[in-house]
C-alpha cells in the first residue's frame, strides 16, 4: 500500500481538473492572444479561469496576474514593488520563516543595496513559529516600501496574524505582500479580509497542475514587471499564456472553493488522529509549531535521535512518502531554516518530519502510517551512527 503524506510538496491533479484541461491541449490549442476563433476559444478559457481564481480569494478578475507558479509570484511581488517604489533608500521587512522564494529574493535585494529586516518568530514552545505583529511594527522605517509575510508556513503549517500585520502596513502606507501558497485551498483566503495588497498562490498545492500560479495585485498597486516582451497579463507578466495550466488552475480553484469546508474538517480529523497516535506511541515525540494556529492538514514532528534523512528513506521503502522539510531544500546538509527559526536545535531540526495530508488522503493511509512510523523510528534510534569523532586528528596524528 502506497501512502502519500506530502501534500505540502505537491498534490495529485484532481481528475475533474485533468478533464477540464484536456480540451485545451487538443482542440482548443489556440494562442489566447490571437484574433481568430481558435485564439478566442483559448482566451475564453483563460478568462473563465481568471474569474474562478479571483473568486477563490475574493479578488476582482482584473487583479489576477497568472505566473509560472508560487516562486515567480513571490519574485514578482518582491522585486516588482521595490522597483516601482519611488526614492533611493528603500527598506523591506520580512520574516525568518518565509519560503526561499521570498527569502532568497530579499538576499538578492540586499546585494543590490536595499536594506532588509528579517523579523524573528516566536520560539516559545506551544506558540512557536508565529510572528509577533509588534516586531513588524518596530521594524518599520520611513523608507520601508514593502512588508512580506506568509499566510501559512509550509513546514510547520502555522498561520500568521496577517490581518494585524496588514493593518500595520496600511497605517504606515507600506505595501503588504502575503505568500498564501500554503493556505489557499486549505483555509479561507480573502484578500479583503486579510488586507493584502499582493498575494501569491499556486495551483499544484490544491490539486491543480504544476507550472501555474498567480499573483493578486490590488487595483492601483504600482508593480514593475520582471519580464518584457508583449502585453499579456496587462503588461505585468508578458509571455504566451499557459492556457491548459491556467484552465486547470481555474477548475482546481473552483473545486477548492466548493470543497473547502468539508475537506478541511475531514482532513483535520485525520491529521489529529495521526498526530495524537504518533505522540502516544513514540517516546519523546513532539509537535513543532503552535498547534492552535495551524492549517488543518499539516503536522511537523521531532523524533529526537532519529535522523530525518534515514527516517524519510526508511519510510519510503515501506511505501510511505513524507518529507523532512521543503522539497526545494532536499539534499542540503543544512537543517531547515524554519525549524531553526522556531527554536529547534540543529539536532532536533535534523530529526524532524513533516506529514501533510490532502483531499485524497484516506483513513487507511493514516492508519498504515500509524502502524509503520513508530517501528521505523525505534529502529533508527537503536542504530544511530557513532558520533563523529572531533576531527580525529588529535587521537590519530599520523593518519
Amino acid at each position: 500500500m502506497r501512502v502519500y503524506l506530502d501534500y505540502n510538496a505537491t498534490t495529485p491533479v484532481d481528475s475533474a481538473v485533468l478533464e477540464a484541461m484536456l480540451p485545451y491541449l487538443r482542440d482548443n490549442f489556440g494562442n489566447a492572444g490571437s484574433v481568430h476563433t481558435p485564439g478566442q476559444r483559448a482566451r475564453a478559457g483563460v478568462d473563465a479561469a481568471r474569474e474562478s481564481v479571483a473568486a477563490l480569494i475574493g479578488a476582482k478578475p482584473s487583479e489576477i496576474v497568472f505566473t509560472s507558479g508560487g516562486t515567480e509570484a513571490d519574485n514578482l511581488a518582491v522585486f516588482g514593488v521595490v522597483a516601482a517604489s519611488p526614492g533611493t533608500r528603500k527598506h523591506v521587512i520580512t520574516t525568518s520563516i518565509e519560503h526561499h522564494a521570498v527569502l532568497h529574493s530579499c538576499e538578492e535585494l540586499v546585494r543590490r543595496g536595499i536594506e532588509v529586516t528579517v523579523v524573528p518568530v516566536s520560539q516559545k514552545r506551544g506558540a512557536d513559529g508565529v510572528v509577533d505583529p509588534g516586531e513588524i511594527r518596530r521594524a518599520l522605517r520611513p523608507e520601508t516600501v514593502l512588508i512580506s509575510v506568509m499566510h501559512a508556513n509550509n513546514e510547520l503549517g502555522t498561520i500568521q496574524p496577517i490581518e494585524e500585520i496588514a493593518r500595520i502596513a496600511s497605517e504606515a502606507g507600506v505595501r503588504f505582500h502575503c505568500d498564501a501558497v500554503q493556505s489557499a485551498g486549505k483555509i479561507p483566503v480573502d484578500v479583503t479580509a486579510l488586507g493584502a495588497d499582493l498575494l501569491s498562490i499556486s495551483a499544484h498545492k490544491f490539486c491543480g497542475p504544476k507550472g501555474v500560479g498567480a499573483l493578486y495585485v490590488r487595483s492601483g498597486t504600482a508593480l514593475a514587471p520582471r519580464f518584457y516582451g508583449g502585453h499579456a497579463e496587462r503588461d505585468r507578466r508578458p509571455g504566451t499564456e499557459n492556457v491548459p495550466g491556467i484552465v486547470g488552475f481555474g477548475k482546481a480553484a473552483e473545486l477548492a472553493r466548493k470543497l473547502l469546508v468539508e475537506d478541511s474538517a475531514r482532513i483535520r480529523g485525520l491529521r489529529d488522529r495521526l498526530e495524537s497516535a504518533l505522540l502516544e506511541r513514540i517516546p519523546g515525540a513532539q509537535v513543532n509549531g503552535d498547534r492552535t494556529r495551524r492549517v488543518p492538514n499539516t503536522t511537523n514532528m521531532t523524533f529526537a535521535n532519529a535522523g530525518g534523512e534515514a527516517l524519510l528513506i526508511a519510510l519510503d521503502l515501506q511505501g510511505i512518502a513524507v518529507s523532512t522539510g521543503a522539497a526545494c531544500s532536499s539534499g542540503s546538509t543544512e537543517p531547515s531554516h524554519v525549524l531553526l527559526a522556531a527554536g529547534l536545535t540543529h539536532d532536533e531540526a535534523r530529526s524532524s518530519l513533516r506529514f501533510s495530508l490532502g483531499r485524497a488522503t484516506t483513513r487507511e493511509e493514516v492508519e498504515r502510517a500509524i502502524e509503520v512510523v513508530p517501528g521505523v523510528v525505534e529502529r533508527i534510534r537503536s542504530l544511530s551512527p557513532r558520533a563523529p569523532v572531533a576531527a580525529q586528528s588529535a587521537a590519530v596524528p599520523t593518519r
Binding site: 535522523g307 526508511a314 521503502l317
Partner: protein, 395 residues
C-alpha cells in the same frame, strides 16, 4: 570464478522480478557511484533476485572552490552531478529504490581536512582508505542499517570470506591482480567486513565490462575514474592552497600553508629554496628548481625545520619503518614477529619483511631488501599469499 555466461538479459520486466522475490530475503544496500563497477554490482545482485536499495553519497560540493574549475566541470568525479545522475539512471534502469544521501560534512571532517593537514604536516595521505574506513563503511553503513539493509555491497575489487575455524572475517586480494583494491581496505574492522560484500572480487575487469553490456547497464562504456575524487584535474597542490584560503576566509581553524624554506642535501648543504613543503612528496624528482648534473630526489620533508631534504636514488632506500593504528584482520595482534609481504603504496610490489608488533596497534616493519621511498602518511599493508593480514599508517 563466476562465468559471465550465466548473466543473460532477463525477459522479465523488473517489476515481475521484484514481485517474485521472497519477502524474507534480506535487503542489501549497494553503494552506487555512477561508475561502471558499482553499477554492475547493482545489476548482478538484481539479476540474482537479491532485494537491493541503491545509495549514492553526495560527498563534496564542487562549486565550493570555483577557482579550481578551470575549463568547465571536472568529468567523472565520484560526486559530480554527472555521476549522481548516472547512478540514478542505472537505478531507474534496474528498477530499484535509489536515494542520494548527503555526507558532505562527514566527508570533509574525516577525509578532506585530514588530507590537507597531512600534506601540510609533510606526509602523503591516502584519502581513499580514510573514506572507506570512516565514511563508506561507517556512516553509509550506519544509514543502510537504519533503513533496513544490514549488508552493504560495493564495487571494490577484493574478496571477503568467513573463516569458520577462527570465527573471523578475512580480506583477500581480488582475483584480477591488475584491479586489486585490497590495499585501500586494510582498515576495515571485523564488524565492517562482516557486513560487506564485494561481488567484483571474483571477476576480471573484462568480465565486469561484459556483464555490464549484457545487462545493458547504462554506464557500461564509461571510462574509469582514477584520480582523487574531490581534486579536480589531479592538482592536489592547487586544491590544498584553495582549501586553506577558503578556510582562512571563513575564519576556520586550519593549519597555515607552509612557507618557503631551504632545500638541503643529505649532508646538510643548502641546494636551493622550496615554496612550501606541501608541494613535495618523497621520491619526487621533477620540479625541484635546480640541476646538479645527476638525478636528485626528495628524500624527506622535515616539518620541524621546514627543510626539504634531497639526495640520490640510494638515499631513498630504507629497510625499516614504524606503522601506527595497525589493524589486524585474520587474527588479533600477534605476540611474536611474523613474516609477510608488505606493500608500501598502492602499486608497489609487496616486499618480504618481518613485522614486529610493538603494541596493540603499532608495529615495526623490517624489509629483507631496502625499499625505495617509504613515505610517511602512506599505508603499509601486510599480505600472506592472497590474504591481507592487516596494515597500518607509516609514521
Amino acid at each position: 570464478m563466476i562465468s559471465t555466461s550465466q548473466f543473460e538479459i532477463s525477459s522479465d520486466s523488473p517489476a515481475e522480478i521484484s514481485a517474485s522475490l521472497s519477502p524474507s530475503a534480506e535487503t542489501v544496500a549497494v553503494a552506487m557511484s555512477g561508475g561502471v563497477d558499482s553499477s554492475t554490482v547493482a545489476a548482478i545482485l538484481r539479476e540474482r533476485g537479491q532485494p537491493i536499495v541503491g545509495l549514492t553519497m553526495q560527498l563534496w560540493n564542487q562549486r565550493r572552490l570555483p577557482q579550481l574549475q578551470g575549463e568547465g566541470p571536472a568529468p567523472h568525479r565520484c560526486c559530480s552531478l554527472d555521476d549522481v545522475h548516472d547512478a540514478r539512471r542505472v537505478a531507474e534502469h534496474l528498477n530499484i529504490p535509489f536515494y542520494v544521501i548527503n555526507f558532505e560534512r562527514e566527508f570533509e571532517n574525516t577525509v578532506v581536512r585530514p588530507f590537507v593537514e597531512e600534506y601540510l604536516a609533510g606526509r602523503t595521505p591516502v584519502p581513499c582508505t580514510r573514506c572507506n574506513n570512516d565514511v563508506k563503511f561507517e556512516h553509509l553503513h550506519a544509514t543502510a542499517r537504519q533503513i533496513g539493509a544490514e549488508r552493504i555491497a560495493t564495487g571494490h575489487y577484493a574478496r571477503v570470506r568467513h573463516n569458520a575455524e577462527t570465527g573471523r572475517y578475512e580480506l583477500l586480494r581480488a582475483v584480477d591482480e591488475s584491479k586489486d583494491q585490497s590495499y585501500f581496505l586494510f582498515g576495515l574492522t571485523q564488524e565492517q567486513l562482516a557486513r560487506a560484500e564485494f561481488p567484483l572480487g571474483e571477476l576480471t575487469k573484462q568480465e565486469v565490462r561484459e556483464i555490464a553490456r549484457r545487462l545493458a547497464v547504462p554506464v557500461a562504456e564509461k571510462p574509469e575514474s582514477q584520480e582523487i575524487c574531490f581534486v579536480p584535474s589531479g592538482s592536489y597542490v592547487q586544491f590544498i592552497e584553495s582549501y586553506v584560503q577558503e578556510q582562512e576566509r571563513a575564519g576556520g581553524e586550519t593549519t597555515k600553508l607552509g612557507e618557503s624554506g631551504e632545500i638541503v642535501s643529505t649532508s646538510g648543504e643548502v641546494m636551493g629554496h622550496h615554496n612550501g613543503l606541501h608541494n613535495y612528496t618523497v621520491g619526487q624528482r621533477r620540479g625541484l628548481g635546480f640541476a646538479v648534473g645527476r638525478p636528485i630526489f626528495v628524500v624527506a620533508l622535515d616539518r620541524a625545520t621546514n627543510r626539504l631534504i634531497v639526495g640520490e636514488d640510494g638515499d631513498l632506500r630504507r629497510s625499516i619503518c614504524e606503522v601506527r593504528d595497525v589493524n589486524w584482520i585474520p587474527f588479533a595482534t600477534p605476540d611474536a614477529p611474523l613474516r609477510a609481504k608488505v606493500r608500501i603504496r598502492n602499486r608497489h610490489e609487496p616486499a618480504e619483511a618481518e613485522i614486529l608488533p610493538l603494541s596493540e596497534n603499532t608495529a615495526r616493519v623490517s624489509f629483507v631488501e631496502p625499499q625505495r621511498a617509504i613515505t610517511a602518511g602512506q599505508a603499509a599493508v601486510f599480505y600472506r599469499g592472497e590474504m591481507v593480514l592487516g596494515g597500518g599508517w607509516i609514521a
